[in-house]
């Protein structure tokens, strides 16, 4: 097992490097460089422009530029924003990151709390009315685009009923302490449900089919034959085995969650990384676009790595060689 984990980490490193190369390549393909904007400015002397290019290393050979860029990235220096003059990309990202993190965790919590019990209950009562209801919900949850669901949620619960705010993270600056906490949760309810919907539907389907699979296996029949209570069969045998694929799924669904966050944040004007990303695309603010792309890519790679490692720990039956 340790051998596998070490090998898995070793594979992770070249993938990280190639990922950074792809993003660097895309950045190089971006039209112009930080100076083309000023080039049009007649007050700047072409000679000064050339000097500045030289000073920034833009005339160096591409591999050297890559190494310089990569070593800056590793130290967390993402350069300066082209649109928000004088602000570093890192500070803009750090400012928005917690909001996206909270929203993602909130959505994930909703997803797990809702989908797993429903999936288990459906599997234990297959083809019951509840099961059909859950299956129907699953079909809709996977078919409805999250931005449309978000708009419906705003229309019904924010505009018509007025139960929840339709945008932002917080009402104002006057709320503090515990009140602030609840206010933030209050703002996160609609975007959280919107973001969690697709995940809820797919985890639920997975959980149902996994539990159904496990329930029909021989060791469950043995456990029942021994006279084990239903409760113990469920917790000690069924769930432990059924959860294994769900863990892998979480590793992969992580990317879907982040992608979903980009759209969901846009619908709710939620000031997170997603809205920053889309605004930066509109403004052609390449340093921010590349930094966020790299950050999200690395996060996904780490998510997959952790899922794989965790998988090898919880399931000793799997042998890797």
């Amino acid at each position: 097992m340790y051998k596998y984990i070490i090998r898995r980490i070793l594979v992770f490193i070249p993938m990280l490097i190639v990922l950074s190369m792809i993003i660097f390549g895309l950045a190089k393909a971006a039209p112009g460089d930080p100076f083309t904007g000023r080039m049009l400015d007649p007050t700047i002397d072409p000679e000064v422009y050339e000097q500045q290019r030289e000073a920034l290393g833009l005339n160096d050979p591409v591999p050297i530029q890559y190494v310089n860029w990569a070593s800056r990235m590793v130290t967390g220096d993402f350069g300066e924003s082209m649109y928000y003059k004088g602000r570093s990309v890192a500070s803009l990202i750090w400012e928005r990151m917690p909001n996206t993190l909270y929203l993602g965790l909130f959505a994930l919590a909703i997803t797990l709390i809702v989908s797993i019990p429903i999936g288990i209950y459906s599997a234990r009562n297959p083809y019951s009315i509840f099961d059909y209801g859950a299956t129907t919900f699953g079909f809709f949850g996977l078919a409805v685009p999250n931005f449309f669901f978000g708009l419906i949620a705003i229309y019904l619960f924010a505009i018509k009923l007025g139960w929840f705010p339709s945008q932002g993270t917080i009402t104002g600056t006057e709320v503090t302490g515990l009140q602030e906490f609840f206010d933030r949760i209050h703002h996160m309810v609609l975007p959280g449900i919107t973001l969690g919907l697709a995940g809820t539907a797919s985890y639920m389907r997975y959980m149902r089919s996994e539990v159904l699979d496990v329930l029909s296996s021989d060791y469950i029949r043995t456990a029942k034959a021994k006279g084990m209570s239903d409760r113990n069969v469920l917790y000690k045998h069924t769930l432990r085995n059924a959860m294994i694929p769900i863990i892998t799924l979480m590793g992969f669904e992580f990317g879907a969650l982040l992608s979903g966050a980009i759209i969901t944040e846009q619908v709710f004007s939620y000031p997170g990384l997603g809205t920053l990303f889309i605004n930066s695309i509109t403004n052609r603010d390449y340093p921010i676009i590349m930094a966020i792309a790299l950050l999200l890519g690395v996060t996904i790679l780490i998510g997959n790595l952790l899922a794989d490692i965790f998988y090898s720990i919880v399931d000793p039956r799997i042998r890797y060689d």
């Binding site: 895309l26 078919a143 931005f147 708009l151 419906i152 759209i263 792309a293 890519g297 996904i300």
Partner: protein
């Protein structure tokens, strides 16, 4: 006495699959809905006399009337006409993106699974990398680099960023087929690589390929609408469902004109549901082990 018992002609796996498929009520309902939507899209000019791209600035955000069944949008364009023509774009983009992805996915998957070794390693690592960057981030980053987005470019961006999942499936099927004895037999009688791939591998892998292609078309339609919604997809004034819903980012339209943005949303929902039902029906039909229905 002569016996007149007729020997029934054996059915091919494809015929068996077709029989199982038409018995599936949900899938059949999906087909009917999809056909209706497609007919609406094809006969759009007959169903509405308005030009979906012409904006009458004197008639902005009108409520529904006899002339404009679903009112007009923020630029005075007829919503009903846009809904019908939008179905065209959504279906065309969804279908062509699926087809393009299918070609890349099957070709690369076939190369990786058939030849194995270095080719396999190269293709699959590339697939891993593309899968490592969240689809939306990659697609948006590429779109950010482009000067102008047209339908062709848009479809290409989607195909280039989504082929890996299909490639994985095709490769897996091919890898398992490679070890089968009938392949060895074919090779022994001197069949060429291409012949083996087209005559033996693809027909055996056709089930999973068709099922995944169908389900992929549904996600392509969602992707198109999501990107158009955030203004990074097919540019206005081309009518697409995503572009229509995009208008609801304006809180005034969201609040006062649900008739403008709910129909295209329902259009996406219905189309995607219909395609998913068809895909699930095909999966059950192609799976010989499936005993449902």
């Amino acid at each position: 006495m002569k016996s007149h018992r007729k020997i029934k002609r054996a059915q091919s796996p494809l015929q068996l699959a077709l029989r199982r498929f038409i018995k599936n009520k949900l899938a059949l309902a999906g087909i009917i809905v999809l056909v209706l939507i497609t007919l609406g899209a094809i006969f759009a000019p007959l169903l509405s006399e308005h030009d979906p791209t012409y904006g009458d600035l004197l008639k902005i955000e009108k409520v529904p009337s006899d002339e404009h069944i679903l009112g007009t949008d923020g630029s005075g364009r007829d919503n009903f006409a846009r809904l019908l023509y939008g179905a065209r774009i959504s279906l065309i983009v969804g279908f062509s993106a699926m087809l393009f992805t299918l070609i890349i996915g099957v070709v690369l998957g076939a190369l990786a699974g058939y030849y194995g070794g270095k080719v396999d390693n190269l293709i699959m690592r590339l697939a891993d990398l593309i899968l490592a960057i969240p689809f939306l981030v990659l697609a948006l980053t590429i779109i950010a680099l482009l000067e102008k987005v047209t339908i062709t470019i848009f479809v290409t961006v989607i195909a280039v960023t989504t082929w890996p999942s299909l490639t994985r499936i095709v490769r897996g099927t091919f890898l398992s087929l490679r070890e089968q004895e009938f392949v060895l037999g074919a090779r022994a009688i001197g069949a060429s690589d291409l012949r083996i791939i087209f005559k033996h591998f693809i027909p055996n892998a056709i089930g999973p390929i068709i099922v995944n292609a169908t389900l992929m078309m549904a996600s392509m339609i969602i992707i198109e609408s999501a990107l158009s919604f955030i203004g990074m997809g097919i540019p206005q004034p081309t009518p697409t469902w995503g572009n229509m819903i995009s208008e609801a980012q304006n809180i005034r339209i969201l609040r006062n004109h649900p008739e403008a943005w709910i129909p295209p949303g329902l259009g996406i929902l219905l189309t995607v549901l219909a395609i998913n039902f068809i895909g699930d029906g095909l999966r059950d039909a192609f799976d010989p082990k499936s005993n449902r229905r």
